[in-house]
Amino acid sequence: MADPEIKTYEPHHESQSAAVTESRPVRWVAMGTAFAFLAVFLLLPLIVVFHEALAKGIGAYTEALSSPDTRSAIRLTLLVAAISVPLNIVFGISAAWAIAKFEFKGKAFLTTLIDLPFSVSPVISGLVYVLLFGAQGLLGEWMKAHGLVILFAVPGIVLATIFVTFPFVARELIPLMQEQGNGDEEAALSLGANGWQTFWYVTLPNVKWGLLYGVLLCNARAMGEFGAVSVVSGHIRGLTNTMPLHVEILYNEYNAVGAFAVASLLAGLALVTLVLKTLLEMRYGAEIAAARGH
C-alpha cells in the first residue's frame, strides 16, 4: 500500500527539526506523565488482580476455582456468550448488508438506533426487561398464565447480554462494507452467482477480519457484562450467577482469594482479547474499519 516514493522521505521526518517537535525536557515530561498515568490507572489494577488471586498460594487459587459454584458460573457465562454472540453476528451481518449495500430513506436514523444501547446505562438495559417481564411488568400476568419464565433465569440474562452487546458487530461491519463498495458483488452477480453464493464467496471473505474483530469485542463484553445482567439475574447461586456476578458475591463475603481468582480468569480473557485485537490491527489493519478510526 505504502508508496515507495513517500517512504524515502521517512528519514527526513524522523530527524525532526525543532519546529515540529517539542524540546527535549518537554518531551520527557510528556512521556513521563503519560507513562505514570497508564501505569497507575491501567497496569496496577491488572497486576493487583493476579497478586490478590495468588496471595495465599497456588493451592488456594486452584481450590477457589474448582468450587462447584464457580464452575457453574463459568458454565453459565460460556452458555450466555454462546447464545448471544452468534445472534448478534447474524444481526450485524444482516444490518450491515442492508445499510452498506443499499441506499434507502431513513438509513442514517437506523444507524443511530443501532448505536443506542451504547448510550444507555447497563442498569437501565436490565431495567427495561424487568419492566417488561417482571411480576408487575407489562407482560408479567400473561407470562405467569402461560408458565413462561424469563426474569431471574437464563433467558433474561441472555436478553440483557444481547442488548448491551447489540452494536459491536454491526458497528464494525457497516463502515467496512461501505468502504469496500458494491463492485465485487456486482461482478459476481453478473457472472451468474446467486445471492447466497455472492455473500459466501465474495462478501464474507472480504470482511472476515473485520467480522472477527467485531466478534472479539462483542464476546469480551458478553462474558464480562455486570450491570445489566445483575438486574435481571436474581443472583441465585449455581443457577443464575455469571462469572462477574460471582466475583461480586465472593467479594462481598470477604472471600478475597475466591473473588480475585474468578476475576483473574476474566482478566486473562481481557488480555487474550487485547492481544488478538492488536494482532488483527497489525496484520490486517487495512481490512478492519475500526483500526482506521471510523
Binding site: 521526518h13 527539526s17 519546529a19 515540529v20 517537535t21 518531551r27 512521556m31 503519560a34 497507575v40 491501567l42 496496577l44 489494577p45 491488572l46 493487583v48 488482580v49 444481526f91 444482516s94 444490518a95 448488508w97 442492508a98 443499499f102 434507502f104 430513506k105 438506533l113 443506542l116 444501547p117 448510550s119 444507555v120 446505562s121 442498569v123 437501565i124 431495567l127 427495561v128 426487561y129 424487568v130 419492566l131 408487575q136 442488548f163 447489540f166 458494491n182 456486482e186 452477480l189 445471492g195 455472492t198 455473500f199 469480551a220 464480562g224 457484562e225 455486570f226 450491570g227 462477574p244 466475583v247 476475576a263 476474566l266 482478566a267 481481557a270 487485547l274 485485537k277 492488536t278 482506521r292
Partner: protein
C-alpha cells in the same frame, strides 16, 4: 422488491442489482424492534403512566437528587481529567517513538476489555486504606476508597480509552507541513500547539469528553465496589435504580431511569451544539 413504481418521484430505496434487501432489512428491523425498541418504549410508557405529580415527587426526592448530582458530577470531573491526560497519552503515542509503544497503545483499550466488576474490585483493593496506593495517600490525609473521590478514580479508568481513541486518529492525520509553515512564519512551539494544533483537535476532544462523560454517568460495575454507597454521599444514580428495584418500587426505578436518559439526551444535544460551534470557530 418493495420499491414503488420507478417513475414516482419519491422512492424508498434506489434500485440495485444486489439481492437481499427485503430479507436483511426486514430481519434487522424485527430484531432491533424486539430487543431494543419495545423494551425501551416500555420504559417510556411506564414513566408516562406514572403521572406528572408522582413523577415530580420522585424526581425532587432528596436522595434521588443527590444520586443524580453525584453521578453527573463525578462523571464530569473524570471526563475532564481524561481530556487532559488522555490527550497527553494520545500525543505521546502518536508523535514519539520509544520501545514498548505498541504495548502501551494496546493497553489503552484495557478498560474496554476488562469486565467492570473486575476493575471495581481491583481499584478498590489498590485504593483501600491498606492497599498499594491507599497506604501512600493515607498519611497525606487523602481517602479515596469509599468516598466520591473513589467514584472519580473508577470513572477515569472507564473513560480513558474513549478520549484517547477519539483524539488519536485525528492527531495522526495532522499534516506536519502546517506546523512547519507556522514555524517558518516565526511561531514558537507553544504557539504552534495552542494556536495551530489545538483548534484542529478541539472537536475530537469534545467528542471524547462527551463519550467518556456519557459512559461515566451510566457506569455501575466498577463504581459500586469503590464508592462505599452511602446515601446522599457516594450513592450513584444507577445504584439507586437497583435499590428501588430490590424494594419492588418499580415506579421510582422507572422515574430515575427516565430522568437519567433525558439528562443524557440533553447533554448530547449540548455537546453537538458545542461541536458545531467549535467547527465554525476553528473551521
Amino acid at each position: 422488491m418493495n420499491t414503488g413504481p420507478a417513475k414516482a418521484g419519491w422512492r424508498f430505496r434506489q434500485p440495485s442489482v444486489i439481492p437481499g434487501f427485503g430479507l436483511t432489512l426486514g430481519f434487522s428491523l424485527a430484531y432491533l424492534t424486539l430487543i431494543i425498541l419495545i423494551p425501551l418504549s416500555g420504559l417510556v410508557w411506564r414513566s408516562a403512566a406514572l403521572g406528572w405529580t408522582d413523577f415530580w415527587a420522585i424526581a425532587v426526592d432528596r436522595r434521588t437528587l443527590n444520586a443524580l448530582k453525584i453521578s453527573f458530577g463525578t462523571a464530569f470531573i473524570a471526563a475532564a481529567v481524561n481530556v487532559v491526560f488522555g490527550t497527553i497519552v494520545a500525543w505521546v503515542l502518536v508523535r514519539y517513538r520509544f520501545p514498548g509503544r505498541r504495548i502501551a497503545d494496546a493497553m489503552v483499550d484495557l478498560p474496554f476489555a476488562l469486565p467492570t466488576a473486575v476493575a471495581g474490585i481491583a481499584l478498590t483493593s489498590l485504593y483501600a486504606p491498606n492497599g498499594w496506593i491507599g497506604q501512600l495517600l493515607m498519611p497525606l490525609g487523602i481517602k479515596v476508597a469509599y468516598t466520591p473521590l473513589g467514584i472519580v478514580i473508577a470513572l477515569v479508568f472507564i473513560g480513558l480509552p474513549f478520549v484517547v481513541r477519539t483524539v488519536q486518529p485525528i492527531m495522526e492525520e495532522i499534516d506536519k507541513e502546517v506546523e512547519e509553515a507556522a514555524a517558518t512564519l516565526g511561531a514558537n512551539r507553544f504557539q504552534i500547539i495552542t494556536r495551530v494544533l489545538f483548534p484542529g483537535l478541539a472537536p475530537a476532544i469534545i467528542t471524547g469528553f462527551s463519550l467518556a462523560f456519557a459512559r461515566g454517568v451510566g457506569e455501575y460495575g466498577s463504581v459500586i465496589f469503590i464508592a462505599g454507597n452511602l446515601p446522599f454521599k457516594s450513592e450513584i444514580a444507577p445504584l439507586l435504580i437497583v435499590i428501588r428495584l430490590e424494594e419492588y418500587n418499580y415506579e421510582a426505578a422507572t422515574a430515575i431511569a427516565a430522568i437519567m436518559l433525558a439528562l443524557s439526551f440533553v447533554m448530547l444535544l449540548v455537546v453537538n451544539l458545542a461541536q458545531t460551534w467549535s467547527r465554525k470557530r476553528y473551521g
